[in-house]
C-alpha cells in the first residue's frame, strides 16, 4: 500500500520535476556555461556562433577590468537602492498600516487609495514620475504655488554622489563589515551570556584592528583608484519605487494586525500599555514573519528592477544604472552574450543570498512542526 502510494507520488510529480529541471535549472546551467565562453566574438549572431571556453574571464573583467567601471557602479547603485527601498517601503507601509489599524473614518477608501499604485505597471508609473521629477516642472515647481522659490534639485540627473568609497579598498571594507556584524552580535549577547559573547567580540575586534592597521597591505581589488558612491540621481527612482510599493507592505501589515486578537490588545491596554508600546512590544513582534517576507519580496524586486528605471531615465544614464539594465544592453544591444550571461549569473547569486536562507529556515520550521 505504502509502496503504491510512493509510485503514484513519483508518477504525478515527475512531469513537473522534469519540466522545472529542464526549463529552470537546465537554463540556469546553460546561462552559466555561456558566461564561461567568449560567444562568437564579432560574429555573435551567426547561425552557429563559435564558442570558446574562456574560464572566468568575463567575471574577472566585470569586477577588476578597466571597462567594468559602469557595471561596478551599477552594482553599488543596486545595493544602495535595495537598502533605501527596504527602509522606505517598510517604514511608510508600517506607518500607514498602524494609522489604518485604528479604524479611522473612511478606512476602506484610504486602503484602496494607498494600495492602488501597486496595480499600475512600472512603465506607466515610471513615465508619470519622469514628468513629475523633470527639472523645471512637476515637484520642483510646487513651492511656486505658495509664492516660494522653486526647487532646483535635479532628481534624475544630478551628477553628485555621497557615501563614496574607493573600489580598490573593497577587501578592507568587507572585513570592516564582517567585524561590525560580529561586534553587534557579541554586544547583544553580552547581557545574557557574557562568556559566549566573547567568542563573537574577540574575533570582531581582531578583524577590525587588522583592517585598520594592515588595510594598506591588503591586495587592491583594482589597479587604479575608482570611487563609487550613492548617486543622488537615484533618489528619484527610489522615491517612485517607494510610492509604488509602500501600499503593498501596508496591505501585508494590515492583514497581520487584523489577525491579532482584539483580546490581546484589550489586555495590553488594561495593563497600561500606550498605543505606541502596544505596537512596539506586542503587534510588531507578532507580525515578524510578515516583516521577513516583505524584506525578501522587496529585496529581490529591487534586484530585478528594470522597467521603472528604463522608463524614468532611459538606457544610457550611468548615474541611475542598474545591473539588470546593464545585462539587457550588454546582451541585446552590444551583442555580448557571454558578458550578459555573466551579469545574469551574478544577479542570480545575489538574489540567492537573500532567498535561500529564507527558504531553508521556513523549511526547517515546517519540519519542526508535527
Amino acid at each position: 500500500m505504502r509502496n503504491q502510494d510512493r509510485i503514484k507520488a513519483v508518477l504525478t510529480l515527475s512531469p513537473s520535476i522534469i519540466l522545472i529541471g529542464l526549463f529552470v535549472y537546465g537554463f540556469i546551467g546553460n546561462t552559466f556555461w555561456i558566461s564561461l565562453t567568449d560567444w562568437g566574438g564579432v560574429a555573435a549572431l551567426a547561425v552557429n556562433p563559435v564558442k570558446n571556453y574562456a574560464g572566468f574571464t568575463n567575471y574577472i573583467d566585470l569586477f577588476t577590468g578597466f571597462l567594468g567601471g559602469g557595471f561596478r557602479q551599477d552594482l553599488v547603485n543596486a545595493v544602495y537602492y535595495s537598502v533605501m527601498l527596504l527602509a522606505g517601503a517598510i517604514g511608510v507601509g508600517m506607518f500607514l498600516a498602524v494609522m489604518l489599524d485604528s479604524k479611522p473614518k473612511g478606512e476602506a477608501f484610504f486602503r484602496t487609495v494607498f494600495l492602488y499604485p501597486m496595480s499600475l505597471s512600472f512603465i506607466v508609473s515610471g513615465t508619470i514620475w519622469r514628468w513629475m521629477l523633470s527639472p523645471q516642472g512637476g515637484v520642483n515647481i510646487l513651492p511656486e504655488y505658495a509664492g516660494l522659490q522653486p526647487f532646483t534639485f535635479r532628481w534624475l540627473s544630478s551628477t553628485g554622489s555621497i557615501l563614496e568609497f574607493n573600489w580598490q579598498n573593497l577587501l578592507e571594507i568587507a572585513i570592516y563589515l564582517v567585524s561590525a556584524v560580529l561586534l553587534i552580535i557579541g554586544l547583544r549577547l553580552f547581557a545574557k551570556t557574557p562568556r559566549q559573547s566573547l567568542l563573537w567580540l574577540i574575533p570582531g575586534i581582531a578583524l577590525g584592528l587588522f583592517a585598520w592597521l594592515g588595510g594598506e597591505m591588503l591586495p587592491k581589488a583594482l589597479f587604479m583608484e575608482e570611487t563609487h558612491g550613492f548617486n543622488k540621481a537615484t533618489f528619484g527612482i527610489i522615491l517612485a519605487t517607494i510610492w509604488q510599493y509602500s501600499g503593498y507592505t501596508m496591505a501585508l501589515y494590515l492583514a497581520g494586525f487584523t489577525g491579532i486578537s482584539q483580546d490581546l490588545r484589550d489586555a495590553a491596554m488594561l495593563d497600561g500599555a500606550t498605543t505606541a508600546s502596544y505596537y512596539r512590544h506586542i503587534a510588531l513582534p507578532m507580525v515578524k514573519p510578515i516583516t521577513i517576507s516583505a524584506v525578501i519580496i522587496l529585496s529581490h524586486i529591487s534586484l530585478k528592477m528594470f522597467d521603472l528605471i528604463f522608463a524614468m531615465t532611459g538606457p544610457d544614464n550611468g548615474q541611475t544604472g542598474h545591473p539588470a539594465l546593464n545585462m539587457y544592453l550588454t546582451t541585446f544591444r552590444a551583442n555580448d552574450f557571454a558578458r550578459g550571461a555573466a551579469i545574469a549569473i551574478i544577479l542570480f547569486l545575489i538574489a540567492g543570498t537573500f532567498i535561500i536562507p529564507y527558504l531553508v529556515s521556513s523549511y526547517r520550521q515546517r519540519r519542526g512542526k508535527p
Partner: protein, 421 residues
C-alpha cells in the same frame, strides 16, 4: 522579299508582344506576402506609408505586412529583430542604419545577401555617390539599399536672436569660444545639449573638427589610435565645449534641447537635420528666416552622414517580393516620394529637388560636393558593440572629465570590438 519583311515585322511584333506579356506576367506573378520590419511609426509613419502605397500600386497581388516596433533610433526594434533572426524567422526586409551597424552585426554573422547584382542591374553604382557606396559595402559586397540621408554635423540657431545678441554663427570652435562667455554672462546657454546619446552626437562633430576628415577615417580603419595625441586632443576640445552647455542636459530629450534654442534660452544646438523637420513641421517655422543652420564649427565642407537602409536577410520566405521592394526603395520615384515626408534628403544624385524644402535643398547641394564621412552615433562607422561601450565611455568622461583616461578607454573598446578589422 516582301514576305521576309513581313515576317520580320511579325516576329518583332510577336517578340514585343511576348516581352509585354512577359513583363506584365512577371509583375502579376508577384503574390503572397511581404513583411517589412522598421521602427518608423509616429511622425515617420506617413513617409513609410507612401512607399507602401506605391508598392501596392505596382504589385497589387502582394499583401504588405507592416511590422513596426516603436522607439527612437530603433532601441526596441533592434532587440525584437535579433530575437526573430535568432529564432530563424527573419522578416522579408528590415530597416537598419547603413554601415557598420548592419555590417558588424548581420554581415559578419553571414545573415545577409550580397546586393551587388541588384545594384549593377539597376544601374545604382552611378546613382549613389561613391563615398556612400563605400560606406555601405565591404570588400565582399554591398549589403543594403539606402533610402534616405541625414546630416549629423549641423549647427542650429534662430537668426533673429543672434542679431539681438549681436553674435554670428561661429565657423570654428575658436570663434565659438570667443562669443560663448558673453552669451553666458547674459544668462543664455551658449550650446544646448540633451540626454546621453546627444552627447555622443556632439562628440562626433567636435572630434571631426579636431581631427579633420582624413584622421577621422583613419580612426575607424584602425590606422589611428584613439589614445594617440590627436585622439586625446579631441576629448580635450570636447571638454572645453561641454563647459558651455546646460547642466540639466541628461534629463532633456533632443526636442527639448532644440526648444531651448527656439525659445531663446540657448543660442545654438548641434543636432542632426531631423531638427529641421521638427522645427518646420511641429513648430511651424520657416527654414532660413525662422531658423538658420550652418555646418557645425570647424566642419565646413564636410558632411557626416547617416542613412536608413533596407537589406535582404538570407532565407526569407518571399525573396522576390522583397527584391521588388528594394528596387522601389532605390528608385528615384520611391526616394522622392519618401524623403520630403520624412524630412531627409535622397541618397541619389539625380533627385528631383523641386519636391523638397529649402533646408533639404541646401543639404542636397552639400551632399553633392562635400567630403562625406560616416557618423559614429548613428551606426555608420562602428559596430554595435563599440557603440554600446562608447556610451559607457561617454558616461565615464561626463563624470570624470579626464581626457587621457577616456581616450585610453576608447582605445580599449576599439580593440575589444575589432574596429578596423
Amino acid at each position: 522579299m516582301k514576305t521576309r519583311i513581313f515576317s520580320t515585322c511579325l516576329a518583332v511584333a510577336a517578340a514585343t508582344m511576348l516581352l509585354f506579356t512577359a513583363q506584365t506576367s512577371r509583375a502579376a506573378e508577384l503574390k503572397g506576402q511581404l513583411e517589412i520590419f522598421s521602427w518608423w511609426a509616429g511622425d515617420e509613419g506617413p513617409a513609410l506609408q507612401a512607399l507602401i502605397d506605391m508598392y501596392n500600386k505596382q504589385h497589387p497581388g502582394v499583401t504588405v505586412v507592416n511590422a513596426t516596433v516603436t522607439g527612437g533610433s530603433g532601441v526596441n526594434a533592434k532587440a525584437v529583430l535579433k530575437t526573430r533572426m535568432l529564432g530563424g524567422e527573419p522578416p522579408d526586409s528590415f530597416q537598419v542604419h547603413a554601415g557598420q551597424e548592419l555590417i558588424g552585426t548581420w554581415v559578419k554573422a553571414d545573415r545577409m545577401e550580397d546586393l551587388t547584382p541588384l545594384f549593377k542591374e539597376q544601374g545604382w553604382m552611378k546613382s549613389f555617390p561613391d563615398g556612400l557606396v563605400k560606406n555601405i559595402g565591404t570588400a565582399d559586397g554591398i549589403w543594403s539599399v539606402p533610402v534616405n540621408i541625414h546630416r549629423s554635423n549641423v549647427l542650429w540657431y534662430i537668426p533673429a536672436n543672434l542679431d539681438k545678441w549681436g553674435v554670428k554663427a561661429p565657423a570654428s570652435w575658436d570663434d565659438f569660444f570667443a562669443i560663448a562667455p558673453t552669451l553666458k554672462e547674459k544668462g543664455i546657454v551658449p550650446l544646448a545639449l540633451a540626454e546621453n546619446w546627444t552627447a555622443n552626437h556632439l562628440w562626433e562633430s567636435v572630434a571631426l573638427a579636431s581631427l579633420g576628415a582624413d584622421n577621422w577615417d583613419a580612426l575607424w580603419s584602425g590606422k589611428l589610435a584613439f589614445d594617440s595625441p590627436e585622439g586625446v586632443k579631441a576629448w580635450e576640445l570636447f571638454g572645453k565645449v561641454l563647459a558651455f552647455t546646460n547642466n540639466d542636459a541628461t534629463s532633456l530629450s533632443w526636442q527639448q534641447a532644440t526648444d531651448m534654442v527656439v525659445d531663446g534660452r540657448a543660442a545654438f544646438n548641434i543636432m542632426g537635420d531631423w531638427a529641421a523637420g521638427y522645427m518646420s513641421t511641429t513648430k511651424k517655422m520657416a527654414p532660413g528666416s525662422g531658423f538658420g543652420w550652418a555646418a557645425s564649427p570647424g566642419t565646413g565642407g564636410q558632411f557626416i552622414f547617416l542613412a536608413d537602409s533596407f537589406g535582404l536577410p538570407k532565407g526569407v520566405k518571399n525573396r522576390d517580393n522583397a527584391l521588388a521592394w528594394l528596387v522601389l526603395l532605390g528608385s528615384r520615384e520611391g526616394s522622392d516620394a519618401f524623403n520630403p515626408l520624412k524630412g531627409s534628403i535622397s541618397a541619389r544624385v539625380d533627385t528631383d529637388l523641386t519636391k523638397y524644402n529649402d533646408y533639404a535643398k541646401s543639404a542636397s547641394a552639400d551632399f553633392g560636393k562635400d567630403r562625406i564621412v560616416g557618423s559614429l552615433a548613428h551606426g555608420v562607422t562602428a559596430n554595435e558593440g563599440f557603440m554600446s561601450d562608447f556610451a559607457a565611455v561617454m558616461e565615464m568622461y561626463l563624470k570624470s572629465r579626464n581626457a587621457q583616461a577616456t581616450a585610453k578607454a576608447a582605445q580599449q573598446i576599439a580593440v575589444k570590438n575589432g574596429i578596423g578589422k
